[in-house]
C-alpha cells in the first residue's frame, strides 16, 4: 500500500481552491493518482475512459434541456413570477419551506426523480422564490438575488438527501445493508430506514428555520 496515491487528493483540493477548470483538475488528479498508484499511462487512460463510459447515465438528466428551453421561450419563468406576485401570502421562505416538505415527502416514498435542478429549480422554484423576494424587498441587488437562487438549489438538495433514506429500497440503504452483511451483521432495510427519520425531521427544522430567517432579512432590508 502506498501513501503516494493520496497526493491525487491534494491535487484535487488545491485545484478546486485555486479555481482551475474542474475538468482539468479532475483529469490531472486522476492521471497522477493512477501513475503514483503503480499503473502505467495506458492503463490509467483506459480506466479513466472505462469509468466515463460506464457512467454515461449520470448525464441523461440533461435530455430535459430542450423542453425547459422551449417553455422558457414562451415565458415559463415569467409565468412563475406572475403567479407568485398575485399570491399575497407568498414569501421566499414559505415557498422554499413548502418545496422542502414536498421534496422530502416524495423522496421518502421513493419518488426521487420528482424534482431536481433542471426540471424544477431553474424553471419554477428559483423564479418563484425571486419574485417573492422582490415583493418583500423591492428590487434585488445582485448579491441578494444570487443568495435567493442559491438557497433554492440548496433546498432541493437538502430535501432529497434527507428524505430518500426513509424509503426502504433506495440505493444507500441497500448499500448499508450489503456492507454490514459482509461483516456478518444482518439487518433489514426497515431497521435502517427508521433511523433516517430523526435526521430528516431535524433537517426540515434546521433548514426551515434558516429559510424563515431569510424572510426576516429580506423584509428588513426592504424597509
Amino acid at each position: 500500500m502506498t501513501y503516494w496515491a493520496l497526493l491525487g487528493i491534494l491535487l484535487v483540493v488545491i485545484g478546486f481552491a485555486l479555481r482551475f477548470n474542474p475538468l482539468l483538475v479532475v483529469a490531472v488528479a486522476a492521471i497522477a493518482t493512477g501513475l503514483l498508484g503503480g499503473m502505467d499511462f495506458v492503463k490509467v487512460l483506459g480506466t479513466l475512459g472505462h469509468g466515463f463510459n460506464e457512467n454515461r447515465y449520470v448525464t441523461i438528466t440533461y435530455l430535459v434541456l430542450p423542453v425547459i428551453g422551449i417553455l422558457e421561450r414562451y415565458g415559463l419563468q415569467q409565468r412563475a413570477r406572475t403567479l407568485i406576485g398575485r399570491m399575497r401570502a407568498a414569501t421566499t421562505g414559505r415557498i422554499l419551506i413548502f418545496y422542502l416538505a414536498f421534496r422530502q415527502l416524495l423522496a421518502a416514498v421513493g419518488l426521487i426523480a420528482v424534482g431536481g435542478h433542471a426540471q424544477m429549480v431553474r424553471p419554477l422554484v428559483a423564479p418563484m422564490a425571486e419574485a417573492a423576494a422582490e415583493k418583500q424587498h423591492g428590487k434585488l441587488d445582485e448579491a441578494t438575488s444570487e443568495h435567493v437562487k442559491a438557497m433554492s438549489a440548496a433546498t432541493d438538495n437538502v430535501g432529497v438527501f434527507f428524505g430518500e433514506d426513509i424509503f426502504l429500497a433506495v440505493a444507500s440503504i441497500l448499500l448499508i445493508q450489503g456492507s454490514l452483511k459482509g461483516f456478518g451483521i444482518e439487518l433489514t432495510p426497515f431497521q435502517l430506514s427508521v433511523w433516517a427519520i430523526p435526521t430528516a425531521i431535524c433537517a426540515f427544522l434546521i433548514h426551515g428555520t434558516r429559510l424563515l430567517l431569510l424572510d426576516r432579512k429580506l423584509g428588513r432590508r426592504g424597509q
Partner: protein, 318 residues
Amino acid sequence: MINLHWLYVLAGFVFAGFAFSSAREGSNKKRWGNAAFWGLVAASFWFGDLLGDLGNGVLVLALVAIAGAHLLGRGSRQSTTTQERIESSDRLGNKLFLPALIIPFTAFVGTLIFNYTPLKGSGLIDPKAVTLVLLGVGIITSLAVCYAWLRPPVMAPVYEGGRLADSIGWALVLPQMLASLGAIFAAAGVGTTIGALAGDIIPHGSIFLAVLLYALGMVAFTMIMGNAFAAFPVMAAAIGVPILIHADGGNPAVIGAVGMLAGFCGTLMTPMAANFNVVSAALLELKNQYGVIKAQVPTALALLIVNILILYFAGFHL
C-alpha cells in the same frame, strides 16, 4: 426490453443537436469549441461501447483539452426577448406550467404503475433503468405537447436546449468525470489507505471520540470522493464495525444509517458532488460557482452535529 442503450441513442441525437445549434451561432467566437465539445459527448453516447477503454480515454482527454484551453463560452443569443416572454406568458396563462409538470408527473405515476402492476415482471423495461426510462418518456411526451400546442419552429427545442447547454458548459460532464476519478481512486487503493489511516488514529476507551472520528471521517471522505456511497464501506470497515459495533457494543442499525447521513452532510459541502452543487449553480447562472455550496454549509454543519448526537445517544444509550 427498453434499457439504457435506447436512452443513449436518444441522448446522442440531443447532444448532436446541441453541437449543430452551437456551430450555427455566428455571433459567438467560441462556437466551434462549443460544437466540438457537444459533438464529442454525442459520439460518446452513440459509439462509447465501440471505442474501447483506451478510445474512451482519448475522448475524455479531448473534452478536457477543450475545456481546459477555455474554448467553451456562452453566446449572447436570445431566442425571444424578455418583453416577448412576458406577453406570451400573459397570453398562455397558467396552462404553461402543464408541459413542465408532465415530466415529474410521468415519473410519479410511472413509478407507481411499474411497481404495483404486472408491468414489473413483463420485461418491457429494464428494472435497473426504469427511473431514467420514465424521465425519457416524460420528456418526449412533454415535447410532443409543446409542438402540438405552442407550434414552435421545428428546430426550436434544439436551439433552446443548446442555449441552456452552452450556459452550463463543461460542468455538464463533470459528474461523469468525477465518477471515473472514483474508479481510478479505487484502483489505486486510495480508499483502503484512508481507512487504514483512520483506523490507526482511533482513540481507545472513549466512545464519544470514536463516534466523532467515524462521523468526521465519513464527512471528509465523502467530500473527497463526492458521494457517501464510496465512503461508507471504507469507514464501516475502519471504525464503524470493529470499534463502534464490536468493541463498544453500539446499535448496528444506528451506526449504519446515521453514519451514512453524516456522509450526506459532507455531500452538501463539496464541489466533487458536482451534479448537486456545481451544475446547479451553472444552471441558475450564478456568478459564484460555489454559491450553492456556500448556501448549504450552515445547514450541513448543524445537521452534522445532530447526526453525531444521534449516533452517540441512540447508538449507545437507548
